[in-house]
Assembly symmetry: C2
Homo-oligomer: 197 residues x 2
């Protein structure tokens, strides 16, 4: 096999192994030795592709960012026309998808939080930009922000092992957050503070 393919295959194996370890054993158990064992390559081979452990975590974060960005973009392309607030709908859908996957790339956040917090800077900036778009497209920017924060609460709680909810409860709440009619007082949906007949 050619070297480019070989390298990419190794890098992909490392990323998958890292996520598996975080999901199963916790962020504290993510070590270079553990990644090498889990991915079936040697520690020297791992370190040839990633010069330092921080480089592994940075790669995890890059993959996570790309996944979130691509998922949101695809959601807007496919469903944007159906929504008054396409970007908020996309963010809610992305977080919902991220949390439903037990090997989610979102686990990269757990790894960075635990071991390299300065890698979170790029995530904060990306979230800032997303939030600006979410607020700009909304008739009620504060309500849109709070819906986004509730989705974040669901996601971060689940991701970090802090959620008191079942999977079914979580999915139900995500569905409520995504339901635009509920939040804009349109007919056909129970709305805050009142009942539809």
């Amino acid at each position: 096999m050619d070297n480019n393919t070989r390298s990419e295959r190794t890098r992909a194996a490392v990323i998958q192994a890292a996520l598996a370890i975080i999901a199963r054993d916790g962020a504290g158990h993510l070590t270079l030795d553990a990644i090498a064992r889990e991915s079936g390559i040697s520690k020297g081979g791992l370190m040839h592709q990633f010069r330092t452990k921080k480089a592994v975590l940075a790669a995890l974060m890059e993959h996570q960012a790309a996944f979130f960005e691509n998922y949101a973009r695809d959601h807007i392309a496919a469903h944007g026309h159906q929504h008054a607030q396409p970007r908020l709908a996309a963010e809610i859908a992305t977080l919902h998808a991220a949390v439903a996957d037990p090997r989610s790339l979102a686990l990269a956040l757990l790894g960075a939080v635990a071991q390299e917090p300065e890698l979170l800077g790029t995530t904060r900036m990306a979230d800032r930009e997303a939030l600006e778009v979410i607020r700009a497209e909304a008739a009620d920017p504060d309500l849109a922000t709070l819906r986004w924060l509730a989705a974040r609460g669901l996601t971060l709680s689940s991701l970090f092992g802090l959620s008191p909810l079942t999977d079914a409860e979580r999915d139900h709440l995500f569905t409520l957050l995504a339901d635009e009619a509920r939040w804009t007082g349109q007919p056909g949906s129970d709305q805050a503070g009142g009942k539809q007949g």
Copy 2:
């Protein structure tokens, strides 16, 4: 000084040192040596009071749980009569207070998430109980849950270094979450989906 006082003083110093390290250096830098240095006691003295590192983390979690429980209880005692949903109001206020303190006991969650995830079980159970009360007191249990989740989103994002908001924006959003009139469509407050004249 008597031995009980001595022990308690040492234990308090350890707790404060641990929170300072997590806040400043991140959860990954919380080690027994770092705690000993930061607290000004020896490693032997530290280990006399906490038999293992896990015991230190468990103590952090106990203090955090007590703080949250006491803060919520005090809030209900002082302000409960003013709220249709006193427990939700108390939870929002507790999370707001927790996140405003740079040395917050909530940082215990960060330590446990990073190093001893099984210590989070008690937190999940306590949150489950709180959520049951919050839902029981609400006319719209789902809306109450979502408000609670938004407060959680604000808190966990800030705590874990993931928040794209300024402190002023965060405080503003907590204030909105706490405003019962806003969420129940009462006069005097902008409400979801409509305007008050």
